[in-house]
Amino acid sequence: MNLEKVIFGFFIVLAATLNFGFVIGEIDDPLHHNVFELFATVVVNLIATVLKFGDRTQIGAVHLSTSLVADLQLIAATVVWAYAEYIAGTGLTPHLTASVVSLAGGALFANVVSVVMLVAETVSFHRR
């Protein structure tokens, strides 16, 4: 067992699960989407991205790019959230909530791709 692989898999799966947890629920209901969960998702996603740095293989490159996509989407979601809370002055209206959640939903898709690749890599590793 390789500790590096454990940590790597842990963060990738955690990023996907946290993201999923935040996205699930009515898309326009702020009560279904906890801001702490969004915060945790962003942090874990950033860590997962850095973990993927420096891998020169083809699969490593795709891993990194999916993570960068997820980061981009999540940062966009937090910016929309900050806008709703502090700048617009309206709070989380159903409309803005839907925006935040749908952006996070896009990140979820990228994270799922990451997990699928992790699984594929693991399977092919065992076959060798």
């Binding site: 915060f39 942090v43 860590i47 850095v50 740095f53 420096g54 937090t78 809370e85």
Partner: protein
Amino acid sequence: MTNPLLAFWQQLFDTEEDARGRPRIRMQVDSAHPERATSTIFLVLRRMRAPLIALIVIYAIAVLGLVLIPGQDAEGRPWRMGFFHAFYFMSYTATTIGFGEIPHAFTDAQRLWVTFAIYLTVIGWAWAIGTLLALSQDRGFRQALAIGRFVRRVRALPEPFVLIAGYGQTGRRLARSLDALGRRIVVVDIAQEPIDELALESFRADVPGLVADARSPQTLLLAGLAHERCEAAIALTNDDEANLAVAMTGALLRPELLLIARTVSRPVAERMRAFGATEVINPFDLFGDYVRVALRAPASFRLIEWLTGVPGSTLPRRREPPRGRWIVCGFGRFGREITADLRAEGLEVTVIEPAATAADDPGIINGHGTEPAVLAQAKLETAVGLVAATANDVTNLSLIAAARAINPGLFLIGRQNDAANVPLFRAIGVDFALIPSRVIAQEVLARITSPLLFRFLAMVPAQGEARSAALVARLAERCGEEVPALWRVRLAADTAPALARWLAEGRRLALGDLLRDPNDRASPVAAVPLLVVRGDASSAFAPVDDTPLAAGDEILLAGVPAARRALDAVCHSDPTRDYVLLGRDAPSGSIWRWIERAPG
């Protein structure tokens, strides 16, 4: 990026082979490069992984703590910081900008947490920046950067270039000459200092240099061996093994490339030639050949020396090496070569060598040449020439001084090992100095820059003394006592359009007519034709004036620079050509030309 499918297709079905029937491997060689260029950024990213993760975690903890710890607003009501404000606060605090406590003054609990968070973030930043700085000092990282820059510079070279492996005395001399001739160079050396010196040299063009072991094919590929604009690879390192490796790599990867390797060992030369087209230069062997030519054919030697000299300089009249008994001091590689060459000329040779040699040679005297007793044994007073052939310059100089004291009439040949000792050898005044680096550089230059001259020089010894002497006399008569410049003229549409049109009309062109002065056609220009080459096969040595010329011929000329300009005018301008060839002033404007043509 290349399409992988296409590459696969090409590998499967591309059976293209070069002239010698070896399959081409250019494509695979090239694909090794792009990965290198991006390796630096991956190296940075990989090293920064741990500090970056630490920073993210530290920020997350600090922000989360600020959000969770209850605070108060200005009126003392309970208030909680949001993620937005917490992140904003941590951002300016961690980067030591410090805007103060906003939006409300903190409670003591918050201040306790912030104190902790500040130290934590400082540690995180210190680690990250420290790692980055350490990376920029790291030898591996700097090497990766240097290689990346070198590869980009080599790839961006717009002109054909010569790859030089080994930047010692010879490499430096050659690089300077090639640069002066406007050729581009790429240099590889195993040591750092020679490559650093590249920046201090006043080269006209940018010379990319790489510190790497030329024995590795990877190094040579980085230096552009597989590059389509690489026109020659020259192995000049001090290590025969490395030169052999370069010759081998070049011959296997780029069989059509001009490869030149230096060695002083005959077995190594054989191994180099086994790989094919490599041209091997052995300075001792070459010098021995010079001496033989000088002994046997002084006029031919004079001719060769004159044509390979620096243009514009004057050559002093040399003494001709006398025939008689010679003494060779030092029986190393050079000593052996020169002894064999002298004996092959039928001369008696006495060898002085301190080390007990295995060679069972009656002519060998065991001892140090600088000892009076040994010199007396060699009977210096009855000898005609002495070769100071040891690998030590001080020994050679003292040998020459001692020998001259005993017999002032001796013909002296000195081997000069270190370029720094040039003034000493010049001051002591030897008749002949062997400077290996100069011999090699001259030979390489002749092969690279002027294949025609090289061909000419190879023909000289076979022509006989009389023809060589006549050519020398003719050169001296037409061009003066200075070393002439050499150039070639090709009778093709791009290099000599006026002459090409003349020949296309089916008119006769004789060499002598071409070499008339455009100002006064009664007198010839100050140039002498050395060689006329037609196609690949036939060539005429020192052609006479009524040699007929045909389209596609190449002429090697020696002369003063003004003659070259005159000939250029004849090659390019129709009126000048008509004056020189026909002796009449042809009209140069199109109307006058039309008027002249109309009645005829």
